[in-house]
Symmetry: none
Subunit: 212 residues, 4 copies
DNA sequence: GATGAATGAGTATTCATTCAT
DNA sequence: AATGAATGAATACTCATTCAT
């Protein structure tokens, strides 16, 4: 997207800008983030920004894209490392929360995107949901979960993740946690949420219902 | 909030401003909404605005408060009208989606609030969730749903509602629907979502599991 | 053009801006003239500018329009005051030079207009030329000048006026004249120019040729 | 002017830059012409520009100088080829218009120069006028034209040429002429203009007045 | 000789807010 | 109560110029 650097130095500079933008968008929000603030954070001159990005929106889109790629990567890696299918699912979910806990900017940025870049917003959710859909389809075929409209359920999972993540990460009950500290996911609540989800998807087969 | 009008005329003016603000914030977003645009939409002079509101944030908070009150009212009314507890739950949910479909501004406005007015954002979700919590507690006591951490589940429901609402209302599959048309909630998906939720909450008792 | 003020105060402010713009455009040129400089010269706040003008171009066009109206006014007034037709012509020409001597900005501004506002440029020349054309037609009908394509001749007169005006006003031989001093039109050269023009237009009739 | 290349390759590069600058200045105007655009048009790297020119003004001056040299060359060549003095004069004028028709950039560039490079502007007009002065002096001595202040008349001719040229070349009545097409000088108007000029200069001697 | 990454001063424009009427 | 003229801080973006490679 935007202009691609032609030298190694340029590549470094561009990457520094994206990192700085994530930081600044995350803490100030899109509108209060200014290009100057981003370039200062990145330690480059103002004009340099326009060497690599067409404007504020362009770098915003790129930050969303970048975070999206990384959160999905974290999720698939975690799932892959898990033993069986049901553990994989939990691992993926946990990775999602861990990532957002470490990158609260993700929420803040995404939730801004409605007016800033609707396309980026939709892309972000859709890609993650697609990951869920794949997983659910496989599980369904394996008989691990019941017959159901995986699409609707996948979006529901996305909603659960977003809302609980917001609650845990952004509204960190111990609001007095010093800034910068990574929010801890409350294990008990996470488990409660997972059980709720698993009951909702449990296969029909009597005796092995997730309800117990 | 802000200044209260002393005359009937003043009350009307103030109300016109709130209505205009809902419209403008909803279609333009907080930052692109300007006070001039709001006053023009309201058909009053620019200076008049500051007679009733301390500033842009103040009217934003009021709009959020107003929408929140109305959506909750719609939900409780619908639930009250229902026959039994399980129907009440569905009715409430359906009312939520209907309201958001009729007021897409709600989403757009709320999702902006993260940086504009974090307090208003939290207030909005918390009040709705509290409504869920009350309902769930009663249902739990009646044995209609299982023993569980209703708090966590209530937030999960909030998340499901927000995400599916966004999907149905904002990303209206038939994007060619003429602007202004109220989005139709897809009944099949709504039912699928409700079943997912009900299975997640179904009481343990064998034989009456929501799973079937 | 642009926004019209609704109050007397506004009208005054707007007029001050136009005057300031003439001054600043004239001494700095379009590109080095900044809105701040114009508003400072006018003694109003920066934002005030945008109350009355859509932008830099808009006020430029208005300045051209204004100067054009005034130079034509000066010319017709002078011509009207003259006794006979031949004197009227000279008087008009002289008024043109006097006006440009008093408003050197006219040249500087007009000559910039090629890229800034081609429409304004053309309008300026065309309106003045139209004045010449009217005069020449009347003179031709009265037999004061010969049969000829008055259009072409009128444009030629415009060119002569512009070039000699530029020479006299802008390149004021005594360049050491303190800035702000009004350039003096060299009478001898003016007369030489008028004779050249008059010979070019003189009626065919022998005996009354302007050539003698 | 500026740095002189030391190699044949350098000479070519420099020439390409001047040509590109004529093109870019001509179509975009001084201020909207950027060094990048010039170097892109020339097909060289940005930094290369500063190898041969001190800055934007420097290349502008050079372009003016170059165009000036070429238009005068065209005029003297045409005049030399003509048989007698009166034909030489017409031929020179015609060459002037033809050149400007083929290089409309000339006008556009020159008319910008007022603030960009007043020296270049004056130089341009003065050199051409000097050519006229030489011709007029010779003609006067030969008795082909009357006694008169050739200086003033020469500037008048310059003005006529510039204004009618602008009219013919820039405002090409058939504006629908496809871009890039060379404007055709309207013969009838050209002749009318020449007759006007010739009458203005015609010798006193009765019987051979240009007036007939 | 040639290049293009880096820079930051400069500028048009927007908009929340104040205040005299 | 209502108005709208006035303000200036804030900000995205451009571009001539430098310089290390």
């Amino acid at each position: 997207m935007s202009t691609t650097p032609r030298t190694a130095r340029g590549t470094r500079t561009r990457a520094r800008l994206v990192a700085a933008a994530e930081e600044v968008f995350g803490s100030l929000g899109y509108h209060d983030a200014s290009i100057v603030k981003i370039t200062e954070e990145a330690g480059v001159g103002l004009g340099t920004f326009y060497l690599y990005f067409e404007g504020k929106q362009a770098i915003f889109d790129e930050v969303v894209e970048d975070l999206n790629r990384r959160v999905r990567h974290a999720m698939t890696e975690a799932a892959r490392a898990a033993g069986n299918r049901i553990d994989a699912e939990r691992a993926g979910f946990r990775a999602f929360f861990r990532f957002t806990a470490e990158h609260p900017a993700l929420y803040r940025i995404i939730r801004q995107a409605e007016f800033v870049s609707p396309g980026a917003l939709r892309m972000h959710y859709t890609r993650i949901v697609n990951g869920y859909v794949e997983g659910l389809k496989a599980a369904r075929e394996a008989g691990d979960i019941r017959e159901m409209d995986v699409d609707t359920v996948a979006w529901a999972l996305m909603g659960i993740g977003e809302m609980l993540g917001m609650r845990w990460v952004l509204w960190n009950k111990e609001a007095d946690t010093e800034a910068g500290a990574v929010a801890e996911i409350p294990e008990a609540e996470f488990e409660e949420m997972m059980r709720f989800i698993e009951r909702g998807m449990a296969p029909v087969a009597p005796g092995k219902g997730a309800g117990e």
